[in-house]
Symmetry: C2
Subunit: 157 residues, 2 copies
């Protein structure tokens, strides 16, 4: 399978991976959520090569996850900001953080903690059912074919 076939697959995991399926892209988004906006700042914070950073940012812009905004005219300078689609990625990132916090923190404890301003509590991100707000367990979920999959029998997800 070639990677540009991924976004045509009838599976939301595969399609998402076509966009964010490499480690650098996820780290770029992580730092974007920490308010990083400029090319050189991303480069310095991540240690990514300039070449890869340029190509990843261009891809994120092309796909609508970030936008390139001029912040001065001469010389022309740009910054990269999350779009609504990009901001929405936060739920995936926080799920990833929760998983890492739970399973990979080790004896020293978690690197970061989070305070929810809305309720005032320290919290962990939890992925729940939109209807009953209970945490999801694979054994309690039944997948069924959706409209995007009818009359296409070769499914994986």
């Amino acid at each position: 399978m070639k990677w540009d076939e991924l976004d045509g697959m009838p599976c939301s995991v595969a399609r998402s991976l076509a966009i964010v399926g490499d480690r650098w892209t996820i780290l770029i988004l992580r730092n974007a959520f920490l308010r990083t906006r400029r090319f050189d700042d991303f480069q310095a914070q991540l240690g990514i090569t300039r070449h890869l950073l340029a190509s990843r940012l261009a891809k994120l812009v092309k796909l609508g996850v970030m936008t390139k905004v001029a912040y001065q005219d001469r010389p022309p300078r740009y910054e990269y900001r999350l779009t609504e689609m990009g901001r929405d990625w936060y739920s995936v990132q926080m799920a990833l953080v929760a998983w890492g916090n739970k399973w990979l923190a080790g004896a020293a404890g978690v690197p970061l903690e989070f305070l929810h301003q809305k309720c005032g509590h320290k919290f962990q991100p939890v992925t729940v059912c939109s209807e009953c707000r209970e945490p999801l367990d694979v054994r309690e979920v039944t997948p069924t074919t959706g409209p995007g999959l009818r009359q296409r029998p070769n499914v994986t997800r």
Copy 2:
């Protein structure tokens, strides 16, 4: 940065990526949640090369995400099952599915829908605050240094 430095970073996103930071690994886990267990089944369903599949499964086993269980003795045959750590990955996968469903489904609609047996409803996965159960927005969350990060000032997350 080399990729084996990732798991030592004081950031749960980076540490998680050290395990699941490539596309094949995430697709392997996806199919594991769809009850795939055997080498040849993973290979046929995913189209991954046998070489990569073997190395990815070995890594997942080594890191505790899956276990290799003998299901017959002669000839010895094994299957791969999710551990509790692996099952817990479901929340990340479902967050990914929700993001793909929302932003990448296109006109045809979402590929899969999900029924929650616990409450009987079709649902979308939502990442919420463990305390107040409200969906997370980056603008309402304040990250603070946790115990794993005290006296280590060079942070990204």
